[in-house]
Subunit: 665 residues, 2 copies
């Protein structure tokens, strides 16, 4: 018996703490298993009664007969460990723990969870949860869950599986899908992920022949490395992975801080992570539910230009509500023989005309996908309304359908034919945008990079050391010298900049530790005195040549605690922060990937030929971004974060004028 | 018989072109009127048959008996004029024209429409359409429409009315509302708005005792002035007006151009317009349908700080999906006795606990609104799930409910009690954000402003004239002189800037018509020669003192063809354009409103105390914005657009260094 079999297709389940009181949550699994036709053996365990909901129950797992593949534990938190002991004793390979009061309940709970996991590991029992709402295998008729939505009749079987960090969402996705005819294969609520986590489950589903698309509802990512590997496995198996992740608006808070790490922000880092792992990220909850048919069997389009969607409709207003959104995602429309960006057949169109228009577009090399919109008739003449779509060569290209009225039967007819249909214009546009943004997982370079022998491997580097680090990566830095007491002599040509050299200052400008445009030696002496007054701890003064160019960029590296090494390029100065104007990727990146990042930075438009301004050396900028990203290849990854801000972009070359590097220890 | 009565409550309707073929669109109005219990008299008119769908029909309106209040015209475009003639002859006060082929069909159609309107006016017949899908009065049982959605049984009566520029959306809103128990009063498809338009209909609905909330689906605004007046009338009658407007993504295209007009962009201008007219703007289509109970009976909150919402839930994940969105709109959460930003009662909560938690918050002065989230139980135990909400003091504060599963019955129970309930987390958050952004209509100053006698009232002003215009408004401008051939003498102190003085150059910098930082007379002479080579048409050279400050802003004015005079303040240089970083209002604004606009500009953070940088004189900036906005008060509004870019913000005062003004003629 494999882990997947025990988890999803157990031949016998024990319900530890099964209640006879129908009103209780702990009565549900027994009722749901029976209701949905579970074919295996059910073993209710109840410490105080021999009968539960009319079925024979046992006082403890020890007393129960036969082999048990999966235990579902619902007893209070402090009795869970005993239940797991019993599982171990009976050789139960998997236990799903609904009980809460573990990592979800403060430090004490976290300690209790750690003990539980250690014990389960010793006993050879795999754990789902604690705080898991359970597992559902729709085609297998296993409804091992406390989620109230399972009160529904006749679950619809499908080929989409779902892993959720929210137990409620298991029911939400199942019930919302059912309402529009979308079926599911396996659904899992992972709870606290004390043992079995999202990554391992994605890996299992990637191997599952009954699963074609994998959906994720995420509140966090607990093991980014493992999920990245699992996502690549799913990609290799041609199974799209789609994520809806909470925490988008924390970006604002993260941006309140100024160094790279904060800039990158949790959500922006996760966005880069999903992209680089080949995971499709959706913005709206309904999109998560509706997108599967758009992706099933498809591979990432990897578009290097704006996507083009052709639109066929019988209602101008209905189509426009989707197209308006598509425009907001930078998607273009394609309408070969129409003056309008859409093909509006009006409500007079015949079914034949609609199908013909669709087929033309589905066959056209001019567009990357097709949107079909149906108006009011979809509600009361569903067959009539969707027939032209079902009759088309609907699989020739990604096809999305938006129905303007409330039209559940039309949605179900489309779902039954595996056509992606959307209830709201926003989720329809979101799905198309997510599809077009989908990239194959990026393979990260692995050749190790030597750490410069002369630089320390711990602490904060001072700026001269940070410059040396960037020079070792092949990046040009402003000409500079260290001027030390007593004379502060240097040979840099005036005008110069002077900075107090100290590891202790993070924001030099705000600390008054930088003086720019010093014209001559007399001015320099004055400024040095002023500097040392402001920063008495300074060990010396860094003197550097003034540099000017066409634009300023920020280039940063951070070993993100969640997703690992990331590289950033953004508009320089304060722009990256004020406007969140930066692009992120998992590090390292090659020059082509870096060039694609640079294209995403709006503020660098001024060196891309904007208003006939002179062009900057973006190839040199890309080289610098790629170079900084290679910090991820230093064995042991000693760098916590490193940043050049600004990196001056010239018409030939780039030059770093301000550098920062912080080691992990 | 008033216009409203003839339009919405006709005692008799003529159906001109009523078809006997049930499959045809023109057969629908008769069927729908009967189906939904129209109590008045129906007069089918069919040129070729005396019977239609089993009812007596007449060959022409002339032959039909009795008084007719409303004619619905479905005959082909070229016969519509005859139908209107007949309406005039019979004294029919209102005709709704479904027929298309008018302004919707090119120039020829537009001319035909103009003829039709002129004739109808002469005959005293008011027109709805052409290209209108008709009118529905749900409580009055008038279903005078061709929209297929009216095949539905049992329309739900309510107090929300709807005016739509898309005929399809009439059915969309009606049917989507019905699915969640939301009723409607009147629904109107305005078609081409040849006569009766959105503005006049809003005015009628503002007077309609059966209407509490007015919804608009807009593709454009055809008469902004009239709609502004109607919206104010609705506000005075305490009837919220809500708009969903297409065309959001055209902003991107508009931004491709550089002067104020283009910057303002159509959508941004409309956004300002809606706000200043007291119209609530929603982002998502479903929000338009669901928001009415949140607004009914309420007045604009006019919040001057971030809104605070308290959240009660039984599901963390479900609540987070809404809260995450709220955060993206800058809304804060309020949770008095919880460490978390939300109050998660978990699925163990009793109904009493839920109601008590809700009541606490509904009574708390700490929050401006409450969000209640219900998990999976909402689907199969609707009464149980929503009872705690219905038992609460639900009207004490704006209350929004999000149900995580597919739960139409719960939605309907909430709708029946006039509680705002939302199907998707995104529309729920959108509705709350729209509510909190709602402002009372702003009254615009009207005192006229004299045009400076020395300045022309037509053509493009040259920069010296534009400077004079801004000086006349009380704005400080950089010291400048005109230096003319042959000697180009001037008395401005070096360093100076020199610009070719010509009305013909819009983008001086790109045209090479500006030289900055000229150090002395010798350099000046060289630069003047270079300038005149680049711009041979220059009539002279404008010499101005170099100015420096803490930040640059752009201040602009435009008489927008759609919404009228608008004023803009944004981050200076290229930032306003690259990052769409600007705030807009209808002009004029007073200094307080200008100050609120300045707060919205992200890039001006650098003079608001960001990172301890010195603060700029934002009061002086506000004065300048208000001053520029007063161009709207010049009689005849001769200015098409005017712009200062940049206006230098100093620690004391602001100074214009670059000015542009274009007259309408």
């Amino acid at each position: 018996m494999t882990l997947a079999q025990a988890l999803f297709s157990p031949r016998a389940v024990a319900l530890i703490g099964a209640s006879g009181d129908a009103g209780k949550n702990s009565a549900r699994p027994l009722r749901f298993l029976r209701k949905h036709g579970y074919a295996g053996r059910i073993v209710p365990i109840n410490a105080s009664r021999g009968e539960v909901q009319g079925e024979r129950a046992w006082r403890s797992l020890a007393e129960a007969p036969g082999e048990i593949d999966h235990a579902f534990v619902m007893t209070p938190g402090d009795s869970v460990e005993r239940a797991i002991e019993e599982c171990g004793a009976r050789g139960v390979p998997v236990a799903t723990i609904f009980s809460d009061g573990f990592a979800d309940a403060g430090e004490e709970g976290a300690a209790r969870q750690a003990r539980l996991v250690a014990r389960a590991q010793a006993l050879g029992v795999r754990l789902l949860g604690p705080n898991s709402m359970g597992v559902v295998d729709v085609p297998g008729r296993v409804a091992l869950t406390v989620n109230a939505v399972l009160e529904m009749d006749g679950l619809t079987a499908g080929t989409t599986s779902f892993v959720s960090q929210s137990g409620t969402m298991l029911g939400t996705v199942l019930s919302r899908g059912a309402a529009r005819g979308l079926g599911f294969s396996k659904l899992v609520s992972v709870g606290n992920e004390s043992d079995l986590g999202v990554a391992e489950l994605v890996g299992l589903l990637a191997e599952d022949p009954a699963t074609k698309v994998i959906l994720l509802f995420l509140e966090t990512v607990r093991d980014a490395g493992a999920l990245g590997i699992a996502a690549r496995k799913a990609h290799a198996a041609r199974k799209p992975v789609v994520a809806y992740k909470l925490g988008r608006s924390q970006l604002g808070a993260a941006l309140a801080r100024s160094h790279t790490g904060a800039l990158a922000g949790e959500d922006a880092a996760l966005d880069a992570y999903f992209r680089d792992c080949g995971i499709v990220r959706v913005d709206q909850l309904e999109t998560l539910i509706e997108i599967a048919p758009l992706l099933a069997g498809r591979t990432p389009p990897n578009l290097a230009r704006a996507a083009r969607v052709a639109v066929v409709t019988t209602t101008g207003g209905g189509a426009a509500s989707v197209v308006d959104r598509l425009g907001m995602s930078g998607i273009e429309t394609f309408a070969p023989s129409s003056k309008s960006p859409i093909i509006d057949l009006t409500m007079k169109a015949t079914a034949e005309q609609y199908t013909a228009a669709l087929d033309d577009l589905l066959a056209s090399p001019g567009c990357d996908g097709v949107l079909a919109v149906v108006g009011s008739s979809a509600q009361f003449h569903p067959q009539l309304a969707v027939e032209p779509i079902l009759s088309s060569k609907k699989n020739a290209k990604p096809l999305a359908v938006f129905l303007t009225p409330h039209a559940e039967r039309s949605l179900a007819l489309l779902a039954a034919s595996e056509v992606a249909a959307f209830r709201a214009p926003e989720s329809c546009a979101d799905a198309l945008a997510a599809y077009f943004a989908w990239r194959a997982p990026r393979e990260l370079a692995a050749a190790p990079l030597e750490w410069p022998r002369e630089l320390p491997r711990r602490g904060r580097l001072d700026e001269a050391q940070a410059f040396a680090l960037f020079v070792s990566l092949g990046i040009e830095v402003a000409r500079h010298e260290i001027a030390a007491a007593p004379g502060y002599a240097h040979a840099v040509e005036y005008p110069v900049a002077a900075k107090a050299l100290s590891q202790d200052i993070l924001h030099k400008t705000e600390a008054g530790a930088v003086r720019l445009g010093i014209a001559d030696r007399a001015a320099f002496d004055r400024e040095v005195r002023a500097l040392l007054e402001r920063v008495p701890a300074a060990r010396a003064v860094l003197v550097q040549e003034m540099e000017a160019g066409l634009a300023e960029a920020i280039v940063g590296y951070r070993d993100d605690p969640l997703v690992g090494p990331i590289v950033l390029v953004g508009a320089g100065g304060t722009l990256a922060e004020i406007y969140a104007d930066f692009a992120l990727r998992l590090a390292p990146v090659d020059e082509d990937e870096a060039a694609a990042m640079i294209e995403e930075v709006k503020g660098l438009a001024i060196v891309r030929g904007y208003r006939n301004l002179p062009r900057g050396d973006l190839r040199a900028l890309a080289k610098a971004v790629a170079a900084v990203s290679r910090l991820a290849l230093v064995p042991g990854r000693p760098v916590a974060e490193a940043e050049i801000n600004p990196l001056i972009v010239k018409s030939a070359g780039v030059v770093a004028v301000d550098a920062l590097a912080v080691m992990k220890e």
